[in-house]
């Protein structure tokens, strides 16, 4: 392995000066094609993200219920909510919200007679019908908990339902209270992965646990009955059996949920909910702009991955996009539709292309009143090139020089700033990327000048020079580092942790194959899903977590 173990930990925060410069040069392709053997990571509980919770409810109880508006917020770790879901602890208020959500959903279900009848496998005979209740809980409980219930669990739920039926004199109450118990149980709220001995004696997820891992990766939702049946019957064991299900799942419309979840997490699109701009400076800003910008990016993502099955490079170079009237105004193009989203093709040889030319990236990685070459540079380095940008050293005066006649553009001001050695190391790593994007203002409008001064958007990245924004996006799209970074992000999303030393060989192989096969996301999802790494787990970690300053 050519990567240095000490440097591949993405979250490593080096305070040493010049650390950024040291990091340039990581991520080289291995010189030998012998991949290190897998040493699987220990299993951990994964709390459902908000999106997974919602998708689970839709799949389990049907669409159209009012979903909870207040659930414990997801925590982004390594920039990914799915990683946070395997680390974070739920707060007391979060548990309170789970209880309220479970009661609300169960109440809505029984209030909707048609929906309820559709879920009941039997017609109840009177308020207390233990047999019918048991049938319901056996069937629906298996889907909700994503595994068959034990006898004791079933008995406990039946007892709750029977007590409710007796107290409130209604069979609906039996369903309502036992369903509320299913929905607020940790067996629903967490994806339980403990693992056990596989046929070959090594530790792996049980097939039932594995079914959930597959479905939350490929559908961002729970396994369906077919997948659970296979798992409970022991028919999710061989790679061939797994591949058959994976192919079925990749062909299902629910795949789009997973693609949206991955791109949303990877590109921090959730932050667009809270986009704030000074409207006296950005006349095109409106309260719903952030949401529209996110939808534009997600539509591009699903188009590249699902509709076209194209290289991830086209995510950065596509000239076709979907816009609302407001987005079209920012792009200075004719709106394709009056309401909602319509597809447009940006002019060939025009100023912008791809995700980096979209409002989502440009507005999010900027200040409320101006651009930020640094924020944009950090995003490209960390999210697109998988490089680490250390925090600024403490105690350094971070003040930018004032605008003066000799330094009017952001580049000129920041270049003065970079004369300070403590700052230069990292800012010369991030800012030149942002300088190449200075023609796009803090909300994503094209501009030729900054404060009346001409913008110099030329530069160099990854050994390639660029003459302006569009060439810069082309350089990133073509760069080896970007193509090797995407699998790392998708792997973290799938595994819900940053890759470990023991997984590095597998990841390198997946990455090599990804690059060799046209850098397409969907085949990579398939490759991860059927890979041994996705099924194996190490021993349960009984020691306290490692703590580092």
């Amino acid at each position: 392995m050519s990567r240095l173990p000490a440097l591949h930990a993405r979250n490593l925060r080096l305070t040493a000066l010049g650390a950024c410069l040291v990091l340039v040069g990581c991520g080289e392709e291995p010189t030998t094609k012998v991949y290190a053997a897998l040493d699987p990571a220990p299993p951990v509980l994964k709390r459902l993200t908000q999106a997974q919770y919602e998708a689970s409810i839709v799949d389990l109880l049907g669409a159209g219920l009012t979903l909870p508006s207040n659930l414990e917020p997801d925590l982004a770790v390594e920039g990914l909510l799915s990683v946070g879901a395997s680390i974070s602890t739920v707060s007391k208020r979060g548990v309170e919200q789970y209880e309220a959500a479970a009661r609300s959903l169960a109440g809505q279900l029984v209030a909707d007679k048609q929906r309820l009848a559709g879920l009941l496998p039997c017609v109840p005979n009177g308020a207390v019908d233990v047999a019918c209740l048991t049938q319901f809980l056996t069937l629906r409980g298996r889907l909700i908990w994503r595994r068959p219930l034990t006898k004791a669990e079933l008995a406990r739920l039946v007892a709750i339902g029977t007590k409710a039926a007796t107290t409130l004199k209604s069979f609906d109450a039996a369903i309502e209270y036992s369903l509320a118990a299913l929905l607020q149980s940790p067996h629903f709220l967490y994806r339980v992965e403990l693992g056990g001995a596989a046929d070959d004696g090594k530790r792996a997820l049980t097939q039932v646990e594995f079914a959930s891992r597959l479905s939350y990766f490929l559908w961002n939702g729970p396994p369906d009955a077919l997948l659970l049946d296979a798992a409970t019957n022991g028919a999710l064991a061989t790679t061939q059996q797994v591949a058959a299900h994976v192919d079925r799942m990749l062909a299902d419309a629910k795949l789009e949920r997973a693609v949206r979840a991955f791109f949303g997490e990877w590109l921090h699109l959730g932050d667009l909910d809270d986009l704030g701009k000074d409207p006296t400076i950005y006349k095109h800003f409106s309260a719903d702009l952030g949401r529209a910008a996110r939808e534009e990016t997600l539509r591009l993502a699903t188009s590249v991955v699902l509709k076209q099955d194209a290289s991830i490079a086209s995510f950065l170079t596509a000239r076709t996009t979907s816009v609302t009237r407001r987005l079209a105004a920012i792009y200075n193009i004719k709106a394709p539709v009056d309401e909602g989203f319509g597809e447009v093709t940006l002019p060939a040889g025009g100023e912008r292309q791809g995700f980096l030319g979209q409002v989502s990236f440009l507005a999010l990685n900027a200040h409320p009143v101006s651009t930020s070459a640094t924020l944009r540079g950090i995003f490209v380095r960390e999210a697109l090139l998988c490089q680490s940008v250390p925090a600024p050293p403490a105690g350094v005066n971070t003040m930018l020089p004032a605008v003066d006649p000799t330094a009017r553009t952001m580049r000129e001001r920041l270049e003065l700033h970079m004369s300070v050695p403590e700052c230069k190391g990292c800012h010369s790593f991030t800012d030149p990327i942002g300088f190449g994007m200075e023609n796009l203002d803090g909300i994503g409008r094209w501009r030729a000048t900054d404060d009346g001064a001409a913008i110099d958007a030329t530069g160099e990245l990854e050994g390639e020079t660029f003459g302006g924004f569009r060439e810069l996006t082309q350089v990133i799209a073509n760069s080896k580092r970007f193509h090797r970074c995407v699998p790392e992000k998708l792997f973290s999303f799938a595994m819900a942790h940053h890759y470990t030393d023991g997984e590095e060989g597998v990841l390198t192989k997946l990455t090599d194959d990804f690059v060799a096969n046209g850098s397409r996301i969907k085949p990579l999802m398939r490759a991860i899903a059927i890979s041994e790494v996705f099924r194996r787990v190490g021993p349960i970690q009984m020691t306290e977590p490692e703590v580092n300053p």
Partner: protein
């Protein structure tokens, strides 16, 4: 309280609160018709002056703790009062001017500093200032190294009330309250939802009849099953996950506690009244959050939550570290200004004063509630701070510390205490924890460890 009622629940015996529970009388009637039972006058349980219910503290009221946090620091040269001392010996500084009417209730501590490595500007110092623990990497994630002071106090006294603590925020993002590493306690940012959570649905004003709700027993049986599930699962998982499930378990326990409170009579608290119902939403106006409108209406809600003894601990994350909010009148986002504004940073100065104003508005809301012979504020300790001192350099020196309220007479007020020796900021945390009744002789860890409080401000 010689004539304490004989029907007190176990929880009543453990705590100082006195109220009459009708739960015992009505046991067994669940599911039946509502039954009205004649009750003795509730004032029977007041003390002889009729001002308070019995409590060991001087005022007779429980002590309450609040945390107010804003991001991005201050400007120490404009923050630190010129003179030290008590009463007329010291005067407020430029940045503390909004506290003019509250000076007699205020203690300003300056000159303490944070000694943990400043590995992540804003957050490493915030972790130390609020928890006394360094910023750590645990399970690959950077996080506060321990519980924040509000949560630590809530872990100790939170069992007494319907909510062990209430976290809210104005433009808070994730919020600053942590129950421990990787355990954020997320704030409620919507004033209406905060109100609804405390005063909606099942809340009862003093003197209200308790609600006889047959579904409470059913909810309890659901929670019992969920507790059993959690316990079983906990026995199977690894070390880190068992801590996570412990937290989940505690969350279910607190719902149970809340249900039990609903079946008791509300406590007799004359100061308790229904606060104003906030508007449904406070949307940004022209890209700027309605910081002060939200802060004031949420302050009123939280003041009544304390007066009605629904909780004794709260935190308000006004803004978060590194936030780039557009404040009223500012030409750039807050964080951007701290680094970009040249000279003596008049805009940063103005924003810092606005943050102190928000703190003052919160404290004023507590001072406006009459309680017993005094004010609600008298039993409170409201800790105001931010994650750094000078934002421009992410300085850990001369940390901003504001304390309002005497904490039921445990702390002196109207003092400016300036540390003569750059004392460890954790001493402030230990002082507050002790004032709130935690019997601690030490606080924090690593470079934030202390075994001394600040005696000069203690009574």
């Amino acid at each position: 309280m010689s004539d304490a009622p004989t029907t007190r629940t176990k929880a009543d015996r453990r705590v100082t609160r006195v109220y009459l529970s009708r739960r015992t009388l009505l046991k067994g009637l669940l599911g039946g018709a509502f039954v009205s039972i004649g009750l003795p006058p509730l004032e029977l349980f007041m003390n002889t002056t009729g001002t308070a219910y019995a409590d060991g503290a001087a005022s007779g009221f429980p002590r309450r703790f609040g945390l107010f946090f804003w991001g991005n620091g201050n400007i120490p040269t404009r923050w630190v009062p010129k003179a030290e001392g008590i009463g007329d010996a010291w005067q407020l500084s430029e940045q503390l001017a909004p506290l003019a009417k509250l000076k007699k209730d205020l203690t300003v501590v300056t000159g303490t500093r944070i000694y943990v490595p400043n590995t992540e500007p804003h957050l490493a110092t915030a972790s130390a200032m609020l928890s006394g623990h360094p910023w750590l990497k645990i399970h690959g994630n950077h996080t506060f190294g321990g519980p924040t002071i509000d949560q630590l106090i809530a872990q100790k006294i939170g069992e007494e009330t319907r909510f062990s603590s209430i976290e809210y925020g104005i433009a808070s993002g994730t919020g600053m309250s942590h129950a421990g590493p990787n355990s954020v306690a997320p704030p409620e940012e919507n004033p209406f939802k905060l109100f609804e959570r405390i005063f909606g649905g099942s809340f009862q004003l003093p003197g209200d009849e308790p609600k006889l709700d047959p579904t409470l027993g059913l909810r309890r049986s659901v929670l019992d099953a969920v507790l059993a599930d959690t316990k079983t699962l906990r026995s199977q998982v690894g070390a880190a996950d068992s801590h996570r499930l412990d937290a989940h378990f505690e969350g279910i326990r607190s719902i149970e506690r809340r249900l039990a409170k609903l079946e008791e009579d509300p406590p007799i608290l004359k100061a308790c009244a229904m606060p104003t119902k906030p508007a449904l939403d406070y949307p940004n106006i022209n890209g700027r959050p309605q910081l002060f409108e939200k802060n004031s209406v949420m302050a009123e809600t939280i003041a009544m939550a304390l007066a009605c003894d629904q909780t004794r601990v709260f935190s308000n994350t006004f803004t978060r570290p590194v936030n780039n909010r557009l404040f009223p009148g500012a030409t750039q986002g807050h964080h951007q200004l701290t680094h970009n504004e040249p000279g003596d940073q008049p805009e940063v100065n103005k924003i810092t004063i606005q943050c102190v104003q928000a703190y003052a508005d919160l404290v004023t809301a507590l001072a406006n509630v009459e309680e017993g012979d005094g004010r609600l504020l008298d039993s409170c300790l409201v800790f105001g701070t931010t994650g750094v001192s000078l934002g421009k350099t992410h300085s850990p020196e001369d940390m901003p510390v504001l304390l309002a309220g005497s904490c039921g007479g445990k702390l002196k007020t109207d003092i400016h205490y300036r540390s003569p020796s750059s004392e460890n900021a954790s001493k402030v945390l230990l002082t507050m924890a002790r004032a709130m009744g935690l019997e601690l002789s030490e606080f924090g860890s690593k470079q934030s460890y202390v075994d001394e409080s600040i005696g000069d401000i203690e009574v």
